[in-house]
């Protein structure tokens, strides 16, 4: 794992974002154990305090939970998982629409572009599957 950090957004928030994407992608399964604070710092090459803060926030947001002295795990709560997915989709969509809007792309063209782009991604995916 190697994250490229931008230095303007708090690092801990970038870590949380990273986790959300991994969860939405399915790379991290619900209920799966997360690395310890120290392991996370080592893996992502961040300050252990940052890892600590990220975990604290994620715990507060309900993304992870800790039972007693056991290692923390990703939530199994469907509502939370769906909310994460929802949040990521909304953010990406918002960013995309804002860009399109700022350069005056019409709604029809936006829909067309989205459809075409999605189509070509699907085809590439099939090609990869076949080869």
């Amino acid at each position: 794992m190697g994250l490229k950090f931008n230095n303007r957004d708090p690092v801990y928030m970038q870590v949380i974002q990273y986790f959300k994407i991994q969860i939405a992608k399915g790379t991290i399964e619900p209920g799966e154990e997360v690395p310890s604070r120290r392991e996370l710092a080592n893996q992502l090459k961040i300050n252990p305090n940052t890892a600590q803060r990220a975990y604290k926030e994620m715990e507060e947001e309900g993304l992870i939970f800790t039972e007693g002295n056991l290692p923390s795990r990703v939530t199994k709560d469907d509502r939370v998982l769906r909310a994460v997915r929802e949040e990521l989709i909304m953010e990406a969509t918002e960013t995309f629409i804002q860009t399109m809007h700022s350069i005056n792309v019409s709604l029809d063209e936006v829909v067309q572009r989205v459809t075409d782009n999605y189509q070509s991604h699907l085809e590439e995916g099939e090609k990869d599957d076949r080869s």
């Binding site: 230095n7 303007r8 957004d9 708090p10 080592n42 961040i46 252990p48 305090n49």
Partner: protein
């Protein structure tokens, strides 16, 4: 916690430190940032008792420096501090001999991590490897505070990456680290507290994550503002 309280120092008639105050906490990475000649090394030397101060106070966990402090705090300067004709094994034996807090196992682990040979002579090592030996000799001590002066200066990029890795590893965890640098590129995302220095004064002291969260600025942004570049 290391407390530096209003320290002043002259070199001859030149005022090098004009009343510098800051604190460095255990478990945090504090970075003194400023161009060369601004007094960073002097501050480090002063904390370690390697140079006297004219006035002010320096406290390590509430107490002034004495000989037992060297089992609690170590300094990795920007220079070789072992006899060049020594082998790495000699240097390690030397440290083991004098320090109770020398951790031989960690020293051996670091040798492997840095890919250094015990039997090499320090004088025959490249600059990057010498810097790593320096780091090893400092970090293999079970001290609470580690001070590093320009750990990245004049080092090739691959050695820099290795050294930067040290900051996110168990070697630093739970310790208080103070490092000086004029170049924060490699570690900007690792710094807890930034202390900006210019001409013997502290211009600003801040927590990097807080500033990112509250003001949306990177350390470099703040530096640009404060140093008027």
């Amino acid at each position: 916690m290391i407390e530096v309280k209003n320290i002043k120092k002259n070199y001859g008639r030149r005022e090098v430190l004009k009343g510098v105050s800051f604190t460095a906490n255990k478990g945090e990475i504090t970075c003194l940032i400023g161009v060369n000649g601004v007094g960073k090394t002097t501050i480090m030397n002063a904390i370690m008792g390697l140079t006297p101060i004219k006035s002010g106070e320096i406290l390590i966990e509430g107490k002034p420096l004495d000989k037992t402090s060297y089992e609690k705090i170590t300094f990795i300067p920007d220079a070789i501090t072992m006899l060049p004709q020594m082998k790495i094994s000699d240097a390690m034996a030397f440290m083991n001999d004098y320090y109770q807090c020398w951790n031989q196992k960690r020293a051996n682990d670091m040798l492997k991590f840095f890919r250094l040979e015990k039997e090499s002579r320090i004088s025959e090592l490249s600059k990057g490897n010498r810097a790593k030996v320096n780091l090893l000799l400092g970090l293999a001590l079970d001290v609470d505070y580690v001070l590093m002066d320009e750990p990245f200066s004049g080092i090739d990029i691959f050695s820099r990456e290795q050294i930067a890795e040290v900051f996110t590893s168990h070697l630093i965890e739970n310790r208080g680290v103070i490092i000086t640098t004029h170049e924060i590129h490699d570690i900007e995302h690792l710094i807890d507290k930034a202390v900006l220095l210019d001409e013997g004064v502290i211009l600003k002291e801040f927590n990097a994550e807080d500033v990112r969260e509250n003001e949306g600025k990177s350390i470099v942004d703040v530096m640009r503002e404060v140093f008027h570049v």
